[in-house]
Amino acid sequence: MGEQKFLHLENIEKRFPIPGKEDYIAVTNVNLEIKKNEIISIIGHSGCGKSTLLNMISGLDKETGGYIFLKGKEIKGPGPDRAVVFQNHSLLPWLSVYQNIEMAVKKVMPELSSPELRERVERYVSMVNLDHAKDKLPSEISGGMKQRVGIARALSISPDVLLMDEPFGALDSLTRANLQEHLMRIQQSVENTVIIITHDIDEAVLLSDRVIMMTNGPEATIGEILEVNLERPRNRVELQHDPEYIRCREAILSFLYEKFAKEDE
């Protein structure tokens, strides 16, 4: 069983019924294999079906064709083995930072004793450096901090895969850089399998082991897969002059703006 695939998408298709018209085929013929502890990003023009793809992996949406397997088992519906970090953090606004994480851990690991529970929640609060803010409500902390809580909450339930749909999309570029550092640092200490959707080419190269580039919809599919052969830990400043980094950037740029440019935008 050592050869068992970790996360495996086979001939995935998603069609949306349009009342009175033919179905809209958003994505089709998607085949992808993701290894354990791999970080991959999905990049593509707006509307190409990135979220659709991620939602099928999370189980929040159901594919209309093909199969998704995680550790040899077919995915049927959402579950805590695939934690999601949503674009707009989706913290429960009436719970504090601590309680938001506690709620998730309590539900997923009901067997923990209360000291174990507290220890675990505090460990994940610390992981994203929010000890000083753990009793604050989401409305009292900044957007970047909220997203960090979202990440901590997702990781606190020990998922097999961490799914992130433009997790830093709503943030300014400095805060975004800061969160990317957080994510890389966390990844350095506890390895996770991460799938991250992004619009940002630098983010994709900086964070990922592989970049999945999607063609435009309708009937979008995987156009190219780029391997990023950069050592970790990665340093964003030093990378600017690294030939491999530059090669990766150019490959994505050329894919997005030459091969699959969007004419109408």
Binding site: P78, G79, F86, L92, M103, E140
Partner: protein
């Protein structure tokens, strides 16, 4: 002195003086209409225009002469009891029904037309029917309050449920919450501020209804008391009744507002 505060005191005083002025001129024009001074004495007691020392209705609001003759306090208490009975019933039925309608599209389709039709019906229209059914003053008043004050609770509860962010439900799905956990941990916290808005409206309606209901049903209560004073030709007491109804209603609303704020997570943490 604080300028804003001074305005908040002085301006209402000016309006108060204007009201007294208008009232006095009405009392001059309309025969037998009580003047502000008459009304004041009828409230707190003192020497009336004929030079007699009289007791006011608030001199001893707690007196009990016999079953049919009790002080104002008891009248108000009786009304409040009915209001809370009807209101509590409306709450017990309205909140679950609102949750159900908010969570199920089918329930919404099923109930919505009837809510829209029954909501605008005046309590006075229900009253004869309910009196006929119950043949009992208390039950009639309580059930009238129930049928007229339940609508804002249902409507606002359903609205609260529908305003639950899709993202929160996705969080619940990923964590595999049971339906009960969804209701308790996600839907209720979102809906509670809406429910309280509904309760506040509902309590306001209940207090409006009680006066009308008691006038028609008789017995004891502030509504009946006002009607009784009309029959006694004690017009000053009607004015006192109006003011008391207003003040009690205002206090109820204030208390309800405080409770609502306490449970409203959007108003927490800013203190």
């Amino acid at each position: 002195m604080n300028n804003e505060l001074a305005k908040k005191i002085i301006l209402p005083v000016l309006v108060f003086i204007a009201i007294i002025g208008v009232w006095s001129s009405i009392a001059n024009i309309v025969e037998d209409f009580p003047t502000p001074a008459d009304t004041y004495i009828a409230t707190f007691g003192g020497e009336n225009s004929e030079g007699d020392e009289v007791e006011g209705v608030l001199t001893d609001p707690f007196y009990v002469e016999n079953e049919d003759d009790k002080g104002l306090f008891w009248q108000i208490l009786e009304s409040l009891k009915r209001v809370f009975a009807g209101f509590t019933l409306a709450l017990i039925v309205g909140v679950p029904l609102g949750l159900f309608i908010g969570m199920s599209k089918n329930a919404q389709y099923a109930f919505d037309p009837f809510i829209q039709i029954f909501k605008p019906v005046s309590p006075l229209a229900w009253l004869p029917l309910l009196l006929f059914i119950f043949q009992d003053i208390n039950m009639t008043a309580i059930s009238t309050i129930f049928v007229t004050s339940i609508w804002p609770i249902i409507i606002n509860t359903a609205l609260g449920v529908r305003s639950v962010n899709e993202d929160y439900m996705n969080v619940a799905k990923v964590l595999r919450f049971t339906p009960m956990e969804k209701v308790v941990q996600i839907i209720l916290p979102v809906a509670v501020p809406f429910i309280f808005t509904g309760m506040r409206l509902s309590l306001g309606i209940a207090w409006l209804v009680i006066v009308a209901a008691e006038m028609l049903t008789g017995g004891i209560g502030i509504g009946f008391w006002i009607w009784d004073e009309y029959n006694n030709l004690a017009y000053h007491n009607i004015i006192i009744g109006i003011i008391i109804v207003g003040v009690v209603g205002f206090i109820l609303d204030l208390i309800m507002g405080r409770i609502a704020d306490y449970f409203d997570y959007t108003k927490k943490g800013r203190a």
